[in-house]
């Protein structure tokens, strides 16, 4: 089924906006996606009609909000095909999910001399929490490198793993290069050596279908706002047995069973990891976003975004002096590039004047930039609501900038 882009675009009110007097061309989808009215309306409805603190409430509104929150959890469970509902933990986002796992997993399983493996193409959010934990535990952080096309050297993973390795933390899709990593292979290699795997799916849940049981992944983390949902809500999926063994990370609120000054007992999953008043309205928004995406169909989304990627790659490659960083065989709709003699910041600023929103800089992946010996790139990232006409506008925009620099 082909998707009707013009109809879809009407679902996203912000796409009608003008920027500097020009129609907005939004190509910063890897940073955050825009929200359809279906999501906005659902959240507004809850604020207008049902808002009340969830769980343990005796009254109508509290039950209504609790139902909304728990229904969202069910939607997430189905979305990634988790075996149990209580394996879905709501967090503030990918970063908090990684921090939760890093701290709680380390408390239980990591001690001095143990090892954690991350990849060279991780977002800082999947590096720094592990660095902090390794420092605290006197553990060692090891790095799986990638080649100049931006493909992980997965063949080196087995040799990198030792009998002290406890966990491999790796992204499914790179936010700065667009590489789709062979996660199944990584999980199989790690599991064969008894090593757990955390997958950062922040850049992938919005593009491709994920089945955590098929992968047999131990932890999966992602954010709502890159999945057409609200900011401030994210997900941690963890296998039941691991989550049960891991200690709570933050204390207070929902996560307790009984509190005595002699000692506190903790609530069961998932609440053990959800301290404080949960962000239920955003959870409800996330549920609506997933339903929206599934309604269009991830297969349809992926097919169309691949079409946009191929079109843009061909067009941009034709520009003299333009180099694309991240040329992996399997990529998602992200193009990182530089044009000879033009600083990425200058490029981004001038494209902005034409109404084209791209991201510039290191994209929170400084090791990736260091790999290529550059300070940053311009990144255009496409969503299913983007069009080939918009890519034409980007193409013309880049040419215009190039012209301004020729003197």
């Amino acid at each position: 089924m082909a998707i009707d882009i013009q109809k879809i675009r009407k679902d996203f009110p912000i796409l009608e906006e003008q920027v500097h007097g020009k129609p907005l061309v939004y190509f910063d989808n890897a940073a955050t996606t825009q929200k359809p009215t279906q999501v906005i309306d659902e959240m507004v409805k809850y604020y207008y009609k049902y808002n009340s603190n969830i769980h343990r409430g005796v009254h109508y509104l509290s039950n209504k909000s609790t139902d909304g929150n728990e229904n969202a959890r069910k939607i997430v469970q189905k979305f990634i095909n988790a075996e149990h509902l209580h394996e879905i933990i709501f967090t503030r986002g990918t970063t908090e999910s990684v921090n939760l796992v890093a701290n709680s997993f380390a408390d239980k399983y990591i001690s001095e001399g143990d090892e954690v493996i991350v990849s060279e193409m991780e977002h800082h959010s999947n590096i720094v929490p592990w660095q902090l934990v390794c420092e605290k535990k006197k553990a060692i952080l090891k790095v799986l490198p990638f080649n100049d096309k931006g493909e992980l050297l997965v063949d080196q993973l087995d040799a990198l793993i030792s009998d002290r390795t406890k966990i491999v933390a790796v992204n499914h899709i790179s936010n700065s290069l667009g590489t789709i990593n062979p996660i199944q292979k990584i999980i199989d290699i790690a599991h064969a050596r008894g090593v757990k795997v955390l997958v950062d799916a922040a850049q992938s849940v919005q593009h491709v279908k994920i089945d955590v049981q098929e992968w047999d992944v131990d932890f999966l983390v992602f954010s709502g706002h890159k999945l057409y949902g609200p900011t401030g809500i994210g997900v941690l999926y963890g296998k039941e047995d691991l989550l049960n063994e891991m200690p709570p990370w933050q204390g207070g609120g929902e996560m307790i069973k009984e509190v005595r000054f002699e000692g506190t007992t903790f609530n069961e999953l998932p609440f053990k990891f959800e301290a404080g008043t949960p962000n239920y309205i955003d959870a409800i928004g996330l549920g609506a976003a997933i339903e929206y995406v599934e309604n269009i169909g991830l297969e349809n989304i992926d097919a169309y975004e691949q079409e946009l990627l191929a079109y843009a790659t061909e067009k941009l490659s034709g520009i003299e002096g333009l180099r694309i960083y991240g040329t992996a065989e399997h990529k998602t709709s992200v193009i990182s590039f530089l044009v000879d003699g033009i600083h990425f910041y200058d490029m981004g600023m001038l494209l902005d004047q034409m109404g084209i929103a791209v991201r510039t800089g290191t994209h929170c992946t400084e090791p990736v930039m260091q790999h290529f010996g550059i300070d940053g790139t311009v990144r255009a990232s496409f969503s299913f609501y983007n069009t080939k006409e918009e890519i034409d506008a980007l193409y013309k925009g880049i040419l215009k900038v190039c012209k301004m620099f020729v003197h």
Partner: protein, 139 residues
């Protein structure tokens, strides 16, 4: 010319530009024409690090006046630095300290004043003012 007279002059110049292209083309021209800094002055100490581009400022005091030089890896940022130099170069430390900077707003570069993740224009101005305070103290 005083700092305010130079600011007025710049504002007038920019008022003549018909669209953003002209304005930015001019900034690119200014950036290209600015001599820049000798590599030996492109030090960590002189670096004003915005998140996106690198800017170096070097300052000295000669006969009671502040001499400024700057460089950046981004041309538009360098163009903005050139404007700042035009305003502050050869002024007394006291005048720099007390200067009320309004031209950035007036010529529509306010978006570059974003305090984070931008080109460090805020930091550039702050650094120049710090030089003013420091040299005023020396004097």
């Amino acid at each position: 010319m005083t700092i305010n007279e130079i600011q007025e002059e710049i504002i007038e110049e920019f008022a003549g530009f018909e669209d953003w292209m002209d304005k930015y083309a001019y900034l690119i021209e200014l950036g290209t024409d600015l001599e820049g800094l000798d590599a030996k002055y492109q030090t960590e100490q002189n670096l004003i690090k915005g998140c996106q581009s690198k800017v170096w400022f070097n300052a000295s005091l000669e006969e009671g006046k502040v001499k400024l030089e700057a460089d950046s890896d981004a041309i538009i940022v360098k163009g903005i630095a050139a404007l700042l130099i035009r305003v502050f170069n050869n002024q007394s430390p006291e005048d720099i300290m007390n200067a009320d900077l309004n031209f950035i707003d007036e010529i529509g570069l306010k978006q570059h004043l974003s305090p984070t993740r931008s080109n460090g224009l805020v930091s550039m101005v702050k650094q120049i003012k710090m030089y003013g305070i420091a040299f005023n103290h020396v004097k």
